[in-house]
Symmetry: C2
Subunit: 511 residues, 2 copies
């Protein structure tokens, strides 16, 4: 696909340096996230033609660390006979419970296994049939995950329904079976199935009605997470919803509860969204990550504007790999914590690191020149020493000489942290919201933020992962200056550190 | 309070013509909404000094129709001994169950009652005491609601807590008692109390934990609503939350369930927000409205930016009076319906009314000149006849010669309806979000919208009240042109009507 010089400029400007993004084409949901004992596999919903055509494949990338991704191309392909290859899961079927692996054939390279990687995924035939439906297909990989061969007697699950999709499959050790969670998109039900062999599935329970309804429920993910500082764990059910989220378009809600191998029961009717901005969708957790770590990625995008946003020749990325925990809030409810994995190891150069006091009067306190060919990592810890409500604020501005400003900041009166992308000029759309805000604990006089700006991606992690903002940013020129300023707010800045990070994605041909 | 000429211009520009707004000062929560048999009483949280000072009173206005408001000034006042007069309820205690009314004294003028209006409200003494608390006070009116006299033995409810507030009180006929709902702001509990006499209150039950937590729960309102097309009713519990709503700052969530006079039990863990924009808070329903109609108003604002927004000498308004129902959605869940009350009776002049077909090709189809001294009411019903995804859209633009644009529209691919106030130049702030979107039913090829633009207020009612957007708008000059255009969307426009409405609020001195 040829690109114009202008396209080339924006492709470079928006290309992330540490986030996975496709060489070309359109990417949405992560799927099949699995660690095979040696490396991480990231499959992804892939539209090579970069539009709403009816060609949807599973692309595939592998990585030793979830940062250095090697793209291996198609793993499961769109088919004129079977339809589109929609979202699903991959599991390590080491004992060959599925009996899909012929003896001696294709164990995972690093392991003495009888079996290997099995994918359970959605075939959606709306592209080829009028009375279409979604069915769940099984496939096995004879080459360690690069390509999958369909089970001869697919589908393994057929609810005779056009909108039942996105199976998540995991091994539930206490009940010694595979569990599959499935979204019935428009009835807003999450259906649970169980199996001994990944092929015959038995209905276990249905979770519904619950939470914020939106229009479609998709991409369920049920995972057991540790509560920080306790020995207990809770099960968390993530449900992506689109469109109709409160922020507009796509978002992810979650519920905290218990799972006995058959039924997920929410502790109560409390629900929450995973993000205070709006570019995170279809969260999936890696199966079998080392040391039982629960980490995963979501799609860095929103269905409202993903077909319109720049650049032209590729679209979509994955969030940083994040580790998930729970932490009890002020009234004892366990709420989601998300932290980026392994950023410290990526620090290439510390541009500034200091402690200082910001006076109550308004003045520019700190300016840092930023390299434009690397991801930037900003860490800030501050304590309020003096404020007069309602005006006190701290502003963290990424800017350039063209007058573009990406503003983040802390507003004292509402104890909130904002992201404001309205000062960027690379993209606008009637649904491309520009202002987001997270609320910090009411009594806290201090706050902590980690901000990672990387190409067209911005991620903000507040108070050690208690609030997360995932936000696409499209300046017309590189943001090369960081400015910290405050107004009517005295601050003891305990940490202000700005790092340039090592680029982990392979450079593209046009670079 | 003197105003400059410039202030005067913006005060006129932003002053609503059919919405209640204060002559001066700062208004937030509606409180004490009651119909006394003859007229509607709207009390409101009032900061005469228009800022975050510790003076908060109950202002008071009366109306025969919820549009023509006569402002009567202070009804319950801030006190140096008792503290601020925060939100609460007013009930018609016609039988003098409270024994607050001396024989023969102050029955409501139009009624043969033994009693009259009783207010139950929050006294918050943080302004005068270090170890402050919120307590619930009773007061009775000897003059039909203009002024209230405190009960001699206040408080009637003291939980020894600084953040328990906003009593809603109503008569529960089946159990022949008064019921009071109270928000414990930070424990996120709604506490229910019962009383025979409005003075002695007994704890009945507690609703928690539930729904989206945010930071504070405020202003509970429990009301029984009809399900459209059915003879059944359900109880709906509204809870305002601030800050921390998904859209940023303030919003209102609700739950549908049952109430037996003691305990509210949600039908399930489904929750929803009342609004797809972000300027509606502290919803309250009128007690005793005629014919059992459930109508009410909310504050037209958001705590994120209410102290910064223009104009300077007054701030805040109430939404249009709305009638509330439930309607079952596609999967049978009863969801909130909100319709403005009595707009038809306000139509002064129909500027255009037509049916037509919009062709698939982009072109301006309709332009209407708008008067700038009246509220504008736009009604649109359209059916999609032809679209190619993802691009088809319909745009409804309010604009002026200065290049300002307030855009609303329908996006075919996501079946959503947007509000985009980013093209207005009268106010910006890092938390003043500019883009909002509601999702319409997935299979519907038609949609219906009523749009009311009135000074700084914009309200959108979609599909006969199924989606509502409440949105402050601050242009720098009057929006005097309405344009309807579409792109890559064929539309059969069954109704396009634009009306200028009668002004119902009294003209101010500066006009």
């Amino acid at each position: 696909m040829s690109v114009t010089k202008s396209d080339d400029f924006y492709e470079k400007l928006y290309r992330p340096h540490i986030h996975f993004s496709p060489s070309f084409g359109f990417v949405n949901d992560p799927c099949g996230l699995v660690y095979d004992g040696k490396q991480y596999h990231l499959y992804y919903q892939f539209r090579p033609m970069h539009n709403l055509t009816n060609e949807v494949d599973w692309g595939h990338a592998v990585s030793p660390d979830m940062y250095q991704w090697e793209d291996r191309g198609h793993a499961i392909v769109n088919s004129d006979e079977k339809g589109m290859a929609f979202t699903g899961s991959v599991v390590v079927d080491g004992q060959n419970t599925s009996a899909l692996f012929p003896p001696g054939k294709a164990p995972l390279p690093a392991n003495q296994m009888k079996g290997g990687l099995v994918a359970l995924y959605t075939r959606d035939d709306r592209s080829i049939r009028k009375n279409h439906k979604s069915t769940i297909h099984a496939a096995w990989s004879g080459d360690g995950g690069n390509h999958y061969e369909d089970f001869a007697h697919n589908p393994v699950l057929d609810l005779n329904d056009p909108d039942t999709r996105d199976p998540q499959v995991f091994w539930h050790a206490p009940s010694q079976k595979w569990v599959l969670a499935l979204a019935s998109a428009y009835t807003h039900e999450i259906l649970f199935y169980g199996s001994r062999n990944l092929i015959k599935w038995e209905h276990l329970s249905t979770f519904a009605p619950a939470g914020y309804q939106g229009v479609e429920f998709e991409c369920p993910n049920l995972v057991e997470l540790e509560i920080e500082g306790e020995k207990t764990k809770k099960w968390v059910l993530f449900i992506s919803l689109n469109p109709g989220s409160p922020q507009g378009g796509s978002s992810i809600q979650y519920f905290v509860g218990s799972f006995d191998g058959k039924k997920f029961v929410a502790d109560n009717s409390v629900m929450d969204f995973t993000d205070f901005a709006k570019d995170s969708y279809a969260l999936q957790i890696f199966n079998d990550a080392p040391d039982g770590v629960k980490c995963g990625v979501s799609w860095f995008g929103n269905w409202q504007y993903c077909f319109f946003q720049p650049p032209k020749n590729w679209s979509g990325a994955m969030t940083l790999p994040r580790q998930f925990h729970l932490r009890r809030n002020e009234i004892g409810l366990p709420m989601l914590i998300q932290r980026p994995v392994g950023i410290d190891a990526l620090v290439a150069k510390t541009l500034t690191s200091s402690q200082f006091v910001m006076e109550y009067e308004r003045k520019v306190e700190k300016t840092v020149a930023l390299p434009t060919n690397a991801a930037i990592d900003v860490r800030l810890e501050a304590q309020v020493t003096h404020s007069v409500e309602p005006n006190g604020w701290l502003d963290i501005e990424f800017s350039n000489k063209d007058g573009e400003v990406l503003s983040l900041g802390y507003q004292r009166q509402t104890k909130s942290f904002w992201i404001d992308r309205s000062g960027l000029k690379g993209f606008s759309n009637h649904t491309f919201s520009t202002h987001f805000a997270a609320s910090l604990p009411r009594d806290s006089k201090s706050f902590q933020a980690q901000i990672i700006l990387d190409g067209c991606t911005l991620e903000v992690y507040l108070n050690d992962g208690a609030g997360v903002g995932t936000c696409l940013v499209f300046p017309k020129a590189a943001l090369d200056t960081l400015t910290l300023r405050s107004s009517q707010l005295g601050l003891d800045v305990k940490k202000f550190e700005v790092n340039a990070l090592k680029t982990t994605v392979k450079e593209r041909e046009y670079l």
